[in-house]
């Protein structure tokens, strides 16, 4: 219940933020933190709660982003209708990828590799066909207005990101407190014992990757609406997969607020390095990579592990 109250406080605090802060920079920062929370939580549901490390979560992100852009541009969908469709397609992509890899018992490094390869295949496909704009990418036509999910200021995007991030946080809370979440944890900790106790490991993992795919796709859809542009490298490149897993691992795998903490730290650091290192390319990512290594070396349970005491 305490976590649920914390989520409620977070929602109220962020929702009230535009009343007190009018700086577009601050609101934009909070928006990006919430967006990164969404991506991190999507990874966390499969990687943290489920123990299946994906190195290619971009495959869902890109699917959501391209679905969002293509449905609006080629099929005339309204953005608010395209968003649930994009999430559904992300879920389908998750189910298919999960069905293939879990059916054949891929675990650990093998699973990480196969997700990476799928993201790469999708990147090449998106890069090849005109349907997805090939290498040029897709530019979402400017159509300002809440009805088209293209907001004039930062506030609209802030609320959109808040809504999506809250859904992901609530799902993580449910995982901590539900029977299904216990199954998932059991499969993560010891799949064979879980199966011996009657847990259908395949279906449990499949459900996790489906939800994870839908949430990651929502992140991709949000990206398209915010930046009005998507190309194969942005959608299916390694950078987005890394971003998703970084915030989850740095914040704390398998915790409700880990991705949020990780997102705050990463974006906070990103802002700091942008200001101090005069935006030299690569500088912030060097620090992210170093942070990843240090966290795993010294705090394998992430920042959230500090608050939870000994397990």
């Amino acid at each position: 219940m305490r976590s649920l109250a914390a989520i409620a406080i977070l929602v109220v605090a962020v929702a009230a933020l535009p009343l007190f802060v009018s700086s577009g920079v601050t609101l934009g920062f909070v928006t990006m933190v919430l967006y990164a929370t969404l991506l991190g939580q999507a990874w966390n549901i499969l990687g943290g709660f489920g123990g299946q490390f994906s190195f290619g979560h971009a495959v869902f992100f890109g699917t959501g982003a391209y679905a969002m852009a293509v449905l609006q541009m080629r099929f005339g969908f309204n953005a608010w209708l395209a968003l649930p469709c994009a999430m559904a397609l992300g879920a389908v992509a998750g189910t298919l990828l999960g069905a293939l890899s879990f059916r054949y018992g891929l675990r650990g490094s093998y699973f990480a590799l196969v997700t990476l390869a799928f993201a790469e295949v999708f990147r090449i496909l998106a890069n090849t066909f005109d349907f997805t704009g090939a290498g040029v990418g897709l530019q979402l036509p400017l159509q300002e207005g809440a009805g088209a999910m293209q907001f004039a200021g930062e506030t609209g995007y802030l609320y959109l990101a808040l809504a999506l991030a809250t859904i992901s946080l609530l799902f993580a809370w449910w995982l901590k407190h539900s029977r299904y979440g216990a199954w998932l944890a059991a499969v993560r900790d010891n799949e064979d014992s879980a199966a011996a106790l009657g847990v259908n490991a395949f279906r449990v993992k499949l459900a996790a990757i489906t939800v994870s795919g839908a949430l990651m796709a929502a992140g991709g859809a949000f990206y398209v609406q915010k930046f009005h542009y998507i190309d194969p490298h942005l959608a299916y490149g390694a950078a987005i997969s890394v971003e998703a897993l970084l915030s989850a691992i740095i914040g704390g795998m398998g915790t409700i607020f880990g991705p949020l903490l990780g997102a705050v730290v990463l974006h906070g650091l990103g802002e700091l390095t942008r200001n101090s290192l005069s935006s030299a390319p690569g500088a912030s990512l060097i620090i992210y990579g170093a942070l990843l290594v240090l966290i795993i070396m010294f705090m394998p349970r992430g920042i959230a592990g500090l608050f939870e005491g000994k397990r």
């Binding site: 490390f53 293939l100 891929l106 496909l125 090849t128 390319p281 990579g289 170093a290």
Partner: protein
Amino acid sequence: MIFWIKATKKLNPPANLFMLDPAIIFASVLNGLTTGAVYALIALGLTLIYGVLHIINFAHGAALMMALYGVYFLHEKLGLDPYVSLPIMVPAMFAAGYLLYRGVIGRASHGKDENILLITLGLSIILENAALYFFKSDTLSIDTPYTLSTVNIFGAMIAVPKVVAFFGALATTVVLLLVIGKTSLGRAIRACAKERQGARLVGIDVDHVFAMSFGIGLACLGAAACFLLPAYYVNPQVGNGFVLIAFTIVVLGGMGSFVGALIGGFLIGVVESLGGLVLGESLGQIGIFVIFIVVLLFRPQGLFGARA
């Protein structure tokens, strides 16, 4: 050669393999074999590390990129020919690998394989962006007297550096097989690969052997970089293209199998070459990943591996 910048170019018109002139197919296969030899060399390092440490080294591509920069700067600053750089690059990469394992990877693992996976991912992020930070994203290549010369092999014109790379990669593989098969270090490595507890019980310093294996794995990259650069280029992202190919080869050949890596390397080189010819440069890359996914799904132990 596969690389994402190339993919933004316009596509070649697709062609039917059977309509092509046999001479073109022959040249394409030869080209694929020479490329495949270098792929095999990169994959050998990866498969050695996997076979012994049971970890997948995600930093392999980044390490190759660093080695390529090493060769590049030895040529630009000291005027050393890439092939002359071999005796410098191989020990240097070995030392880098040994120290990296001793200093970071071995310590950070806490005995869990997943952690090593993430540590090597973190290392690759650090290396790649450090290169971006210090060397900028420019694509660099070197000019040697033999860069543009070709030899005629049964009517097919093959670039000289590629032919050298082919034989160099084969020679390196033979040396590696001899080290693993005939030396006492090799015996210790094989012992640790099979049964690390047992190896420790008979007095083998397992951590030292692990670090040596990691070092040898990276030393292969030092050699690969020397053979690669005369006909290739370097930029901070160059490793990405190779790393998935190397994974494919390792999975195809069976994780930990040297012969598998060698045959897998040639196979992938030829598939890539023919795929590019038939499907065009952009779509041609897909053949490799399709092989990768299919093998991972249906035969994760690989063509020559004993078990998953």
